[in-house]
């Protein structure tokens, strides 16, 4: 190894640790004998010496600091800015998770109404596992398409049906998860775009209601806003809530993609006085909803509960779930058929869902991903003759027209997106949603951070995003030779053998 120049960090830190007190002494001597101004150095290096002593001799929690002192701290400092550095400089355009730069840029462009044409080929790996849409040899013109329309509740023949004319819905994000300005921007944007918005399970949807857009009230397992003290449904409160004009539908959340099998979680950092009041919960500790509705402990009473909510509310009522074991889901569908009671829609949330705060083990490894789950639900419903009794919604990273198109081919009637709309609001994927420190003011209640959001500008972005999604969807439909999303089918997909959908292909 002679002649090789290398940096031995152990020696560097030893030298630094010796240099700091030495410099303190030298500065002291210089301050004493040359100029008093040198004592600024004396004090600074004396302070560093003290900190170093504390690191190496007093504290016991960090071995690195005990062994190397201040130089060890350099590691923690560098590490703390790692995510930013990777995002700014080092990560390539298709490797970040959950959304890579190309996916994020696509949403930003759609939200700002900028042309998203790209040149010289795709960034995707073509011979890998990505599902592609099969186009038709005989595309149709856009004006040959049937205008989109979907009516919830029509199967039951109820009075208060609800019709959407664009297949996009803002997915469940509560006031609590999001700050006031983000909620207002989304709600105002939804109104401008003419799409409904799901309130999330945050209790009385004060700010959602303020903006006057159509709302789907989500009833989580804790039933914030409509609960009795024992966690069961308070019929009177529900009736009162559904009297509000804006509330068009009710969604019962059985489980959620980010944490299937676990209740909602609002970290204590994000619980303000107002949120504590709207939800009826104490401040200062995490609010963890129960993992299930007390009314729903089996297929039979789950179906009865759906019927009960339908009867009390008089509105279309859907359920949201992340698929775990298909056999259990089949049991539920069989029970629906037996009782001749169906929810007005089922929202299938893929396990890639992610706006909710959740333990890492749950976010990473519980539940079926959207594509196979959606296919499974659609197949099971068809098998039991129940597919035409209800609508099917899909959620799970459906931020781009490509993925949404796949969901429609798998049987979805409309698609939910939460993170797509957060990106449209300007989310930069800082991954701090649970810390109340969101740098762009979306998932925080800190007024200083929310200051960055201009509701008028951001609501326009939401609206632009919807219109551009619709534009791309129509183009894709024309290319596939279909007049509506209902004409899309599994056969419109090219599925490589590496895909999670491969087992469903009959070859």
């Amino acid at each position: 190894m002679i002649g090789k120049i290398s940096i031995d960090l152990h020696k560097v830190s030893k030298t630094v640790n010796l240099a700091i007190p030495t410099l303190a002494i030298l500065f002291f001597l210089a301050g004493w004998k040359l100029s008093y101004y040198f004592h600024f150095g004396t004090i600074a290096f004396a302070l560093l010496t003290l900190i170093n002593f504390f690191y190496m001799r007093v504290q016991t929690g960090h071995a690195l600091l005990r062994n190397f002192g201040l130089m060890g701290q350099a590691r923690y400092m560098m590490e703390s800015i790692g995510p930013e550095l990777r995002q700014y400089f080092f990560a390539n355009d298709t490797e970040e998770k959950p959304f890579n730069r190309t996916e994020r840029s696509e949403v930003y462009r759609k939200a700002k109404g900028v042309d998203s044409a790209t040149s010289f080929g795709s960034q995707h790996e073509f011979d890998a596992r990505e599902v592609k849409v099969r186009h038709s040899m005989y595309p149709i013109l856009k004006d040959q398409q049937i205008p989109y329309s979907l009516t919830f509740g029509s199967e039951r023949g109820i009075e208060n049906t609800y019709t959407i004319d664009k297949p996009f819905i803002i997915s469940a994000m509560s006031y609590g998860a999001l700050g006031e300005k983000a909620v207002r921007s989304l709600a105002r944007g939804a109104k401008k775009a003419g799409i409904p918005m799901n309130t999330g399970e945050g209790g009385y949807p004060k700010y959602h209601l303020d903006e006057g857009c159509d709302l789907i009230f989500q009833m989580g397992t804790a039933k914030f806003g409509v609960r009795n003290d024992d966690g069961t449904l308070n019929d009177a409160k529900l009736s009162e809530l559904v009297n509000k004009d804006s509330i068009k539908m009710i969604e019962i959340k059985l489980s959620q993609g980010a944490k299937p099998g676990k209740g909602g979680l609002l970290p204590k950092e994000k619980i303000t006085d107002e949120i504590a009041e709207l939800r009826g919960v104490p401040k200062g500790k995490d609010v963890i909803s129960p993992p299930f509705h007390p009314e729903c402990v089996g297929a039979q009473n789950t179906v009865q509960f759906i019927a009960h909510v339908q009867q009390v509310s008089g509105l279309p009522v859907g359920i949201k779930l992340c698929v775990g074991r298909p056999a259990q889901l089949e049991e539920l569908i069989v029970e629906m058929v037996a009782q001749n009671t169906f929810p007005d829609w089922i929202s299938v949330d893929g396990s890639e869902g992610g706006t909710g705060a959740a333990p890492k083990a749950f976010i990473d490894s519980v539940g079926m991903p959207l594509y196979p789950a959606l296919k499974t639900v659609n197949d099971l419903l068809s098998k039991h003759g129940a597919r035409d009794k209800l609508k099917l919604l899909a959620a799970g990273k459906l931020v781009s027209p490509e993925r949404q198109m796949v969901a429609f081919c798998l049987g979805a009637d409309a698609v939910y997106s939460a993170r797509g709309f957060m990106l449209a609001l300007g989310c930069i994927q800082a991954l701090q949603c649970g810390n109340n420190t969101c740098p762009v003011g979306i998932t925080t209640h800190d007024p200083e951070l929310q200051r960055g959001i201009d509701i008028d500008v951001k609501s326009d972005r939401v609206s632009n995003y919807v219109h551009n999604l619709q534009h791309d969807l129509e183009e894709l439909l024309s290319a596939a030779g279909c007049r509506s999303v209902q004409e899309l089918s599994f056969d419109h997909l090219y599925i490589p053998s590496e895909s999670t959908l491969a087992p469903y292909v009959t070859r």
């Binding site: 002291f28 301050g31 004493w32 100029s35 008093y36 101004y37 004592h39 600024f40 004396t42 004090i43 600074a44 004396a46 302070l47 900190i51 504390f54 690191y55 504290q59 929690g61 960090h62 600091l65 701290q73 923690y76």
Partner: protein, 140 residues
């Protein structure tokens, strides 16, 4: 020591430090003869006198805001550290200078108390101190 007691003690120390440093600012900024004499002795007259005065003023302002009191205490302790070094080397402890020196020591102690009470606010220190995050090993 519970939270209310430690908060009270911290506030007493903050006010004490601000009052003592604050009144000395008056002498520094108005070029009081004794102040000028001291800074002449250590070769910092007049710029150093104004500079130290400004630093002390900043420390006082920081000390009065709960969110920044720990930084004020750190700045105050460092400034007083410099003053105490001066008393031991060039300024001395005779007569009025002895009193001034003792006041510097007193402010230093106040600042040290504030820093101890608010240690969980200190960057570089709190990470190594975060006792709340330490969980004893399970023994079953």
């Amino acid at each position: 020591m519970n939270k209310a007691t430690s908060s009270t003690i911290s506030w007493i120390a903050q006010i004490g430090a601000v009052v003592i440093m604050g009144q000395s600012l008056f002498f520094k900024f108005t070029a009081h003869p004794e102040s000028v004499a001291i800074f002449t002795d250590i070769g910092m007259e007049p710029n150093g006198r104004i500079l130290i005065g400004v630093v002390e003023l900043i420390a006082c302002l920081l000390l009065l805001r709960p969110a920044s009191a720990h930084y004020g205490a750190l700045l105050g302790a460092c400034t007083m550290g410099g003053a105490i070094v001066g008393h031991f080397t060039q300024i001395g402890w005779t007569g009025e200078r002895g009193q001034l020196g003792l006041l510097a020591v007193l402010v230093f102690v106040f600042c040290a108390v504030i820093l101890y009470i608010r240690r969980m606010d200190l960057p570089f220190i709190k990470v190594a101190l975060d006792e709340s995050k330490r969980r004893p090993a399970r023994e079953d």
